[in-house]
């Protein structure tokens, strides 16, 4: 059942249209990530849900109630900010208790709820500390507890991990997901980090120029990108130019090598150029590698990336990258070598703009 509904949402700042006909229904307890580059409108949508921006058009409904005309302090929507935004004059306890005090809850209830929240983020022992005495990760956990304490209907997370270092980012995102599942709270998470979005979301909305380019599960977004933008933004992807040979048989050529696709090439004529996508991890050059399709090319370079070695090879006009898992015995191909990359034809996706 839809809990948070965004219908035909529009927002312009002067002549600039920032959000354009954005539609999305979010289920109760769902964790949805808005993923996109800077300026794509993801934070603006979040701020409209919170009530900090007024939509130029469209409606926002939470639990069936239209939010139009409601101020941010009337919406019961919790929000965690990138910059933590803890009140510097209050200690951890008072920060978490703030929303409950504002709501006029009895002292005893406030104390027990704050204790419960601090237990949830495992910071009970830091209740007396002030924000400046905490690390970035601790501050963000306090901010999360503060947002959750008044039991909001929806939790909004505006790039909450961006200001943290890599290791803490990974552990905190797992913690956020765990707490969200434990409480079953409907959550909207804004990020420009695809790994973050892919790892913790039930569904991802990939946004581009104020529109939702694709909405789907992380696996759908990664494996079946709907547009060229999604394909290029999520994960590393080879975009390969191919010439149509026989549209009826889905036969194309990459350079001078013929390939038969599994999916329809679309309404095109022989000789037309189309774009295909192939993930670097989809193919292998190993002896006896499985796959019904092969492309042979000349190696341009091999780069050691830690867990994988990424090799770039030229096939006709396109450069294709592929990954090999690192192992002590691996000898990566050298520049100038000729290699054959094998993969399954289903891995080759037709990209539509």
């Amino acid at each position: 059942m839809t809990f948070l509904s965004l219908s035909h949402l529009q927002k312009s700042f002067g002549p600039v249209q920032v959000v354009n006909d954005f539609n999305m229904d979010i289920e109760k307890g769902e964790f949805v990530s808005f993923l996109g580059p800077s300026g794509c409108g993801k934070t603006t949508v979040l701020r409209m849900i919170a009530g900090f921006e007024t939509p130029s058009g469209g409606t926002i409904t939470v639990a069936g109630k239209n939010q139009a005309g409601l101020k941010p302090n009337q919406r019961n929507i919790g929000m965690v900010f990138q910059a933590y935004a803890l009140f510097p004059n209050m200690n951890v306890f008072d920060n978490v208790a703030f929303g409950l005090k504002v709501a006029g809850r009895p002292q005893q209830e406030i104390a027990s709820r704050v204790k419960e929240m601090l237990g949830l983020i495992k910071l009970e022992h830091l209740a007396d500390r002030f924000p400046y005495q905490l690390s970035g990760g601790q501050q963000q956990r306090v901010a999360l507890a503060r947002a959750l304490a008044p039991k909001p209907q929806v939790l909004l997370l505006d790039e909450p991990l961006s200001a943290l270092d890599a290791k803490i980012r990974v552990s905190l995102r797992e913690e956020i997901r765990m707490i969200q599942q434990q409480l079953g709270i409907t959550t909207v998470f804004v990020t420009h980090d695809q790994e973050e979005a892919l790892s913790i979301s039930d569904r991802i909305v990939v946004m581009n120029a104020g529109c939702a380019d694709q909405i789907g599960t992380p696996a759908e977004i990664y494996n079946r990108p709907a547009t060229r933008f999604v394909a290029s933004f999520v994960g590393t992807l080879n975009l390969i130019e191919a010439k149509v040979i026989d549209p009826a048989a889905n036969r194309v050529s990459i350079g001078d090598q013929g390939v038969t696709l599994r999916e329809p090439v679309g309404p095109v004529k022989p000789g037309d150029t189309i774009s295909l996508a192939l993930r670097p991890e989809a193919g292998s050059i190993a002896e006896g590698a499985k796959g019904d399709t092969a492309l042979t090319g000349e190696v341009i370079s091999s780069n050691f990336l830690g867990s994988v070695v990424r090799t770039r090879m030229r096939v006709g006009p396109s450069v294709i990258s592929f990954d090999m898992f690192n192992n002590p015995g691996l000898v990566p191909p050298a520049a100038g070598d000729t290699v054959t990359l094998r993969f399954t034809a289903t891995d080759l996706l037709v990209i539509r703009d």
Partner: protein
């Protein structure tokens, strides 16, 4: 290198002599009231003077009102300009700087013209009204310092995000202003308060032309009629200013030990 350092020390020495020698001279002179020996008689004379106590107390009270009402005017204004009307900031900054370029005598004549006994708002008709006018004029005088002190303190915290965080937790404007913003700009508020205090305690023009028994006109009166007491009063006035500056430094240092991260 050596010559540069020597010149630097020379400049410091000249500056120190320029500022310190008159002070030492004044202090030394203030101790000479008793013939043939140094004493604090001049200070005793000043502190036992009923008029000193009355004018000092009056100016203290006026300073207190100026600080309270000044803060009530400046903090919400600076907050609102920073949050909602950033495009108006240059205009507001210009207005707050005006008291530095318009002489106090022009301001007070403007007030007298606007609020005299035959005007639409005859504040000078009563003592309370005139005192109110004096407080307002002191507020105007201290505006450049007060506004800047508060605005600088606000720049150190992320006012917009803190406001949004409080709003998302259900807080209304008075709660946001007095519980989330005001305590975090307290160092700026206190800095502004100390500067205001120092200005009000020594102010002469406004108090004299509004004919109020303030400390500034008393200093002038004593200076014109007595020999040693004016020197003692000058040293006392300096001490008040230094105390204010010292407290200001203390507040700033306290703020530095508790950095604000928002």
């Amino acid at each position: 290198m050596k010559t540069t350092r020597l010149l630097a020390w020379l400049a410091i020495a000249i500056g120190a002599i320029y500022f310190i020698v008159p002070l030492i001279g004044t202090f030394e002179f203030s101790l000479r009231m008793r013939r043939g020996e140094y004493s604090f008689d001049a200070y005793r004379s000043v502190f036992t003077d009923m008029q000193f106590r009355a004018t000092f107390g009056f100016s203290m009270l006026m300073a207190l009102f100026t600080i309270v009402f000044g803060m009530l005017l400046v903090v919400p204004t600076a907050y609102w300009v920073r949050l909602r009307l950033p495009q108006l900031r240059p205009v507001v900054e210009f207005i707050t700087l005006l008291p530095l370029v318009i002489p106090a005598i022009v301001i007070v004549f403007g007030y007298l013209r606007l609020y005299n006994s035959s005007s639409f708002l005859p504040l000078t008709n009563s003592t309370t009204g005139t005192n109110m006018l004096l407080v307002f004029s002191y507020m105007t005088l201290s505006l450049p310092y007060m506004y800047r002190a508060v605005d600088t303190a606000m720049r150190m915290i992320d006012v917009a995000t803190l406001t949004e965080a409080a709003e998302s937790l259900g807080a209304k404007w008075p709660t946001i202003l007095f519980r989330c913003i005001f305590p975090n700009v307290m160092s700026g508020v206190l800095s502004g308060a100390f500067i205001t205090f120092a200005i009000v305690m020594g102010e002469f023009t406004m108090a004299s032309l509004l004919n109020r028994p303030a400390f500034g006109p008393y200093l002038q009166l004593v200076g014109a009629n007595k020999a040693y007491e004016p020197s003692a009063l000058a040293i006392i006035a300096f001490a008040i200013t230094w105390l204010s500056m010292g407290l200001l430094q203390l507040v700033s240092r306290f703020h530095k030990t508790a950095p604000v991260k928002a």
